[in-house]
Amino acid sequence: MDWIAMATGFILILMGLYGALTERNILRIIVSFTVANTGVNLVLVAVGYMHGRTAPILDKTVPVAEAVARIIDPVPQALVLTAIVIGLGVTAMMLTYAYKLYEEKGTLDVSKCRDLKW
Amino acid sequence: MMEALVEFNWMRIPWALLTVFIVFNYGFLMTALIQKIAARVGRRHGIPIWQNYIDLIKNYALRTSITHGVMFYLGPVFRLSGGVGLLLFVPTIYGSDMFSNFSFAGDLILALYFVFFGTLGMALGAAESGHPYSAIGITRGLSQMTAAELPFALAVFAVALQYQTLSITDIVAAQQGGVLNWTLFTNPFAVAAAMMSFLGSMMRPPFDVVLAPQEIPIGPPTEYHSSFLAMMQTNRALFPIAKIVVYMNLFFGGAASWPVLFLKVFLIYMVSAFVGVVFPRFRVEQSIRWFLIWAVPLGILAVVLV
């Protein structure tokens, strides 16, 4: 049953990509990319999941001694945090470009700026 | 350098001059005779035999002459020295040291390429005259000559391969002893190709568009007159004989004595006379095609089969 998380992650990625690649409006593209990023983050976390284990916080409930047997894999958790932040950074950049695009071309349609071709 | 001069047999020079004198006179008489025969074919009485001499003297007797420049002088000089040179570099009488001229210096290839010497000089001289007709005549002459030379070169190469030598005296020596071992019989294709190219180079009707009197007044020598023309006349007598001597040596067994030479030269000359009298004139591209279609295959056969 634990593959459900990963499957939903993959599905989220596919949906996000479909949205990103077919939508004309840049804002919708940004939103669909964010959906795709959340999908990736979900997959990242899902990889680290182990059946019947708890969060990697060593406190009273999970003493240091039996940590090895009780906690799930902490590394994907760390990675996902960085991935989220980086996703945010790229989204912020995309928003700036969207703003500049509207300011320059007066439209939000990505297919309008095609003067660089061939 | 010096020892070459010492061992050079000085007696060769008078003998060579003697050869030139004999051939010169024989040339004048024989060309007049050939013209008379051609006239008789046209039921005309024809020119007297000694007419060429008279024309020569008359041309030298002309009191005025004009000149278009240095190259104009060099034209006939090149022409005649080409003719005399060709004669002297080829042994006329086989076996006699007297009449083997300067053939020690060069051999078959020299003869083959020396023909161009006269043509080149004539072309330069005629071009200097500035007359467009002479330039047109030269282009026709050179174009035709390139196609005519090819079968001859092939024939010469075939003969050289057959006798494995490039020295004319050796070739003549190999053909001695009876008519059957002339190249005519041992290598007929080569001789056929050579004779076809011979027609091309003799400026007789099928291939005389170069000197066509009516079309462009006698082509290259349009502007030549008096003593220039006289020098050209001597060459017109001398050069064909020299060429025929080469043909005779290569293909018809050479000549052991002067009468044999005179007879053979006359008969070879008659070949072009016979053909010339009958056929109309070819345009240049027709003659080029004729040579490449008919004469060259024969030459190739000669080279391949030897």
């Binding site: 690649l21 840049i26 795709a36 990023n37 990736v40 997959v43 590394v75 994907p76 991935a83 790229v90 950049m93 995309m94 470009y97 695009l101 990505v110 003067d115 660089l116 | 020892e3 070459a4 030298y60 002459s65 004009i66 000149t67 278009h68 420049g69 002088y73 000089v77 020295s81 040179g85 002297l88 570099f89 210096a105 060069g106 020299l110 390429y113 020396f114 161009f116 010497f117 080149l120 072309a123 330069l124 071009a127 005259s129 500035g130 007359h131 330039a135 282009t139 050179l142 174009s143 390139t146 090819l150 092939l154 190469f157 050289a160 030598t165 490039l166 349009t222 003593s227 591209e285 080279v303």
Partner: protein, 1044 residues
């Protein structure tokens, strides 16, 4: 040694420090930025110094005080240090270059730049996969930010496309990393490499995603539209960093990935790399925007680097030398070219002609192109040589072929661009000159030449920059401001001294070629005295050519031979390009010569079979299956230089359009290089069989046909120089024919042609050049009657044509005589027929040359022209004397070489030289006697005629019998146009330009294919993302197939 971690710390610290400063400040933040970049460069440089000079081993730097698999570690080795130094230096120079833009944008842009450079160094150093992802994302965001610096408003679109595609790439990368972590249990690259990823459960699939994502960063062929848009629209300085530093860092990252993937993934990388290399180069053919062209070129070079990375298994320890050479060559040249593009105002390729106003920039441009294409002495040349040898040793010939084809296409469009720079007219405000920018560009030139020296030093074949002739040629670059006459004296004395120096070491065969090339070259250089101006660029190019020739003759190993070959090709290209209308012809010359050179490279590579230093003499021992192929390739390569039929179409244009004194150099001397090559080839390899066909027999036919076609086409030319050019094709055909006869006399004839052709062709080209200078035209029908006005030229041309036509007294007949003796013993007879026909045809165009120029009618405008300039006539007279001497005493030159050649053909058919007569087995030839006899006859008749006509009346040009009429005008009475009309009717069909049509269709095919296929990049960001996705799917389907 300072830990490289400080590079990261300095970069970040600086960025945050800039954050503190108030917005208004400009100079202080700029100073800080430069300082920090300087520090980073200094650290990288010190590490490089440690590795390169002190030979220290590579160092591991741990973070967070724990062992690598559990923390991120950096590794700094020789490769990382050099790449870091490259990145930081390019960053520093670009910062200097972008001073005004950074000032306009303020401190934020400087901070972004600092982080950008820091991130790139991170990508190079890190050994952790996820950390690599983080640094790559940093690079992506910094790029998106810096792209907006550009003045070009279209950069915005480029930025959007870039971000869209990088989002897709980051998704793939992340999924790949996490699954790889799940499979291997670690994030450290070295551990992953040890864990044999392909065998683990799901490991291959995960690695595939990671691999494809990193490759996508490298802008592979189908999915690189977005990269090209950035190159086209971004600020040139940023593009410089983007193409060099980002390219270098990402290719190094890809190389790390390949270490993880192991040997199974190398073919995939090679395939993607070679497809990108060839496709990008072909697309670049039809570009006319300069930056987009540079974009295509850098994508191509990165593709080539990927291919090289794909060959790391067979390259072994030479891998870093080859990959480093190509990468650094690409980096420095691209940086330099982008910086130059900042100086040029408009963006068309032809607008770069404005560079001509600053000769220094033209030199910089030439250096960058030579560096990029990999011409000697630059690193690319050594790298391509070693790469070719390793590929050939492994038998990967189709890959070698594709690389060489791509390199040829690249050389074609780059040097076409160089032709525009030299030849097209420049707009007046074409150059946006700023001294800072120029200095930065020129610093790249200095680095280029330093790299050349370094790579030469490292290469096992001896440093090209140590070759004295090449140094002598390069010496003329700084001396270019001297007056032309002084440089000419220097050049001539240099040539003569070098000949004198090497005289004892030449064997007789080399002596003849050396005599023709060095003192012969000096003789022709005499004609260069007649120019008054400084002739900037002439002497470096000429001396480069002569250096190549001098080194060619004494080359012992295949490397020296090939290096000399390319040097003389490049030198002669620059020489030919100087002609007024020679741009297209010089380009076709270079493309053909480089094509031939690459064939020779392939031939040597296959022959060497992996041997590091392959001696030319070892060509004889090449193993059987390869020997005929090697022979064929080398022969075709050499025959492109002697313009055999099929590859001859460059010669007429190149020789005709070159300058007056360049034509004889190129025609009289350069063609002999090809002959020398053929000599070397035939001496070592002798007869070869390919599929039962005797290769020398094929060469025999090629020689004969090119003799015929060359002479035949020469007849119908209206331009005097083209006529001589075509006749050179004919004469070279004769020489190749002689060589292919494979007997003693055949080779002697070829040598005779080498000497003869040099003398009379140089003489004829000089005289025609002198006439063209005086009459202002080269068209023969517009000249005429110049014999009285230019007597010396007339004598030279007359002697020339007598010699060339082979008429007895002069040396041409000697060549024909040896030819006849040679063919007596030849075993093949049919090609003779064509050569016999070619002989008399030579007569026709020679007569046409002399008649239409000197004889015939003198035109009105030519009435008062003077004799050709003294310095052009002097060499001609020397040639006339040389021709006479050579005609009289051929033994002077040929006797020694005749003995030398007996060793090749077991003594059959050699000439014996007693006294004045030269006799062979078949005939004899006494040049002196012939000359004397003909001279005596000639003089007697001439004197007789002069005596008889002593009262002759000299007349003028219209005193001709014109059937009673008066000639209309000189133009109408001079018969010169369409001189051999009947001949054209008879044999015109032979001169149909079939070969020209063939080569034009090939180039037309390439251009139209490129033009259609490049429409593939529609400009829409989403389409580019779809291309990337398609690329991923295709690679998946092609590569993964059934793998787990």
């Amino acid at each position: 040694m300072v830990s490289p971690m400080y590079i990261i710390a300095a970069g970040l610290g600086g960025a945050f420090l800039l954050g503190l400063l108030p917005n208004k400040w400009r100079t202080i933040p700029y100073a800080i930025t430069l300082a920090i970049l300087g520090i980073m460069a200094w650290i990288a440089g010190s590490w490089l110094y440690a590795f390169a000079v002190q030979g220290a081993a590579s160092v591991e730097i741990f973070t967070a005080g724990t062992q690598p698999p559990f923390a991120i570690n950096f590794r700094v080795g020789l490769a990382e240090a050099s790449l870091a130094l490259l990145t930081t230096l390019v960053g520093l120079h670009s910062a200097l270059y972008m001073k005004d833009t950074l000032f306009k944008q303020g401190r934020q842009a400087m901070a972004v730049l600092l982080i950008f450079i820091m991130a790139l160094c991170g990508v190079i150093f890190t050994r952790d996969v996820f950390n690599l992802f983080v640094f790559m994302e940093l690079v992506v965001i910094a790029t998106a930010g810096l792209v907006l610096l550009s003045a070009d408003r279209r950069a915005l679109g480029a930025g959007i496309k870039y971000l869209i595609v990088s989002q897709l790439v980051s998704i793939l990368l992340l999924v790949g990393i996490i699954f790889l972590y799940h499979a291997t249990g670690t994030l450290n690259i070295d551990d992953m490499a040890a864990a044999q990823v392909n065998l683990l459960q799901g490991g291959a699939m995960a690695f595939f995603l990671l691999f494809v994502a990193v490759l996508a960063e490298l802008k592979p062929f189908p999915a690189n539209g977005w990269g090209l848009d950035i190159y086209e629209s971004a600020h040139p300085a940023f593009s410089a960093i983007f193409s060099t530093a980002t390219g270098g860092a990402t290719i190094y990252a890809a190389d790390k990935m390949l270490q993880i993937g192991g040997a199974e993934w190398l073919p995939a990388a090679t395939a993607i790399g070679i497809v990108t290399f060839v496709a990008a180069n072909i697309f670049a053919l039809v570009q006319n925007n300069d930056r987009r062209l540079l974009g295509y070129s850098s994508v191509a070079q990165i593709g080539l680097l990927l291919t090289v990375a794909g060959q790391r298994d067979i390259l072994g320890d030479a891998y870093y030398y080859v990959a480093g050479g190509i990468l650094l060559a690409h980096a420095v040249s691209k940086a330099g070219l982008f910086w130059l593009s900042g100086l040029v105002a408009q963006r068309e390729l032809t607008d770069w002609a404005a560079l001509r106003s600053q000769p220094v920039l033209v030199f910089a441009f030439a250096t960058f192109l030579a560096l990029l294409v990999g011409l000697p002495p630059f690193p690319g040349f050594y790298a391509k040589w070693d790469l070719a040898h390793h590929l050939a040793a492994e038998g990967r010939l189709w890959l070698l072929g594709l690389i060489l084809f791509g390199a040829l296409v690249e050389a074609a469009y780059l040097f076409r661009w160089f032709g525009y720079v030299i030849k097209r007219e420049a707009r007046e405000n074409g150059l946006a000159w700023q001294s800072v920018k120029a200095d930065v560009a020129f610093s790249a030139v200095i680095v280029a030449w330093l790299l050349a020296y370094l790579w030469g030093h490292l290469s096992g074949h001896g440093n090209l920059l140590h070759a004295v002739p090449l140094l002598f040629a390069l010496l003329f670059l700084p001396l270019d401001w001297l007056p032309a006459k002084l440089k000419n004296v220097l050049a001539i004395s240099g040539l003569l001294y070098w000949f004198y120096l090497n005289y004892p070491s030449y064997d007789p065969l080399q002596l003849i070629f050396a005599a023709v090339m060095l003192p012969g070259g000096a003789l022709i250089l005499l004609a260069s005295f007649q120019t008054q101006k400084r002739r900037v660029g002439f002497y470096p190019a000429a001396m480069l050519m002569f250096a190549g020739l001098a080194m060619l003759i004494v080359a012992k190993s295949s490397f020296d031979f090939f290096a000399a070959w390319e040097l003389l090709t490049v030198g002669s290209y620059f020489l030919i390009l100087r002609g007024k209308h020679s741009e297209p012809h010089a380009l076709s010359y270079l493309v053909f010569s480089l094509g031939g050179a690459f064939l020779i490279l392939a031939g040597f590579a296959i022959a060497a079979q992996g041997a590091p230093d392959f001696k030319l003499a070892a060509l004889a021992q090449v193993a059987q299956p390869y020997a005929p192929w090697v022979f064929a390739m080398l022969a075709i390569g050499f025959m492109t230089k002697t313009a055999a039929v099929g590859v001859h179409i460059w010669l007429p244009g190149a020789h005709a359009e070159a300058e007056t004194d360049v034509s004889p150099m190129v025609s009289g001397i350069l063609l002999k290089a090809g002959l020398f090559g053929l000599f070397m080839l035939l001496i070592t390899m002798g007869k070869q069989q390919l599929y039962g066909v005797e290769l020398t027999y094929v060469m025999l036919w090629i020689g004969a046909i090119s003799a015929l076609i060359g002479n035949l086409m020469a007849i119908f030319q209206e331009d005097a120089k083209r006529l001589l050019a075509y006749s050179s094709i004919g004469q070279m055909g004769y020489a190749v024919f002689g060589l292919a006869l494979m007997n003693h006399l055949g080779w002697l004839m070829a040598l005779m042609f080498v000497i003869n052709h040099y003398i009379y062709k140089s003489m004829l080209f000089l005289s025609v050049g002198g006439i063209a200078k005086r009459t202002g035209t080269r068209l023969m029908y517009r000249m005429g009657g110049l014999i009285t006005l230019m007597p010396l030229s007339f004598i030279a041309v007359m002697i020339g044509i007598i010699a060339m036509s082979g008429v007895p007294p002069l040396s041409g007949f000697g060549g024909r005589w040896i030819f006849y003796n040679a063919i007596m013993t030849a075993e093949y007879r049919l090609p003779m027929v064509i050569v016999f026909l070619a002989g008399p045809i030579a007569f026709l165009y020679l007569f046409r040359l002399i008649h239409t120029i000197f004889l015939g009618q003198l035109k009105d405008e030519m009435r008062k022209i003077k004799e050709a300039p003294f310095w052009i006539v002097l060499p001609q007279m020397i040639f006339v004397v040389a021709l006479m001497v050579f005609a009289l005493v051929p033994g002077l030159a040929l006797r020694k070489v005749d003995l030398y050649m007996t060793q090749f053909f077991a003594g059959n058919g050699h000439l014996n030289w007693e006294g004045l007569t030269i006799s062979s087995d078949f005939g004899y030839w006494n040049p002196v006697a012939i000359m004397v006899i003909i001279g005596v006859i000639f003089m007697t008749l001439f004197l007789w005629l002069l005596f008889v006509n002593r009262k002759a009346q000299p007349v003028k040009q219209f005193n001709i019998v014109f059937s009673g009429e008066r000639p209309f005008r000189p133009e109408t009475t001079h018969f010169a146009w369409n001189f051999f009309a009947p001949y054209r009717k008879a044999l015109g069909f032979l001169t149909q330009p079939l070969v020209t049509i063939f080569w034009e269709t090939v180039s037309e095919l390439l251009h139209s294919a490129a033009d259609i296929l490049r429409r593939f990049y529609t400009g829409n960001g989403q389409t580019y993302a779809i291309h990337l996705l398609g690329f991923v799917i295709i690679v998946y389907m092609l590569w993964m197939g059934g793998k787990p």
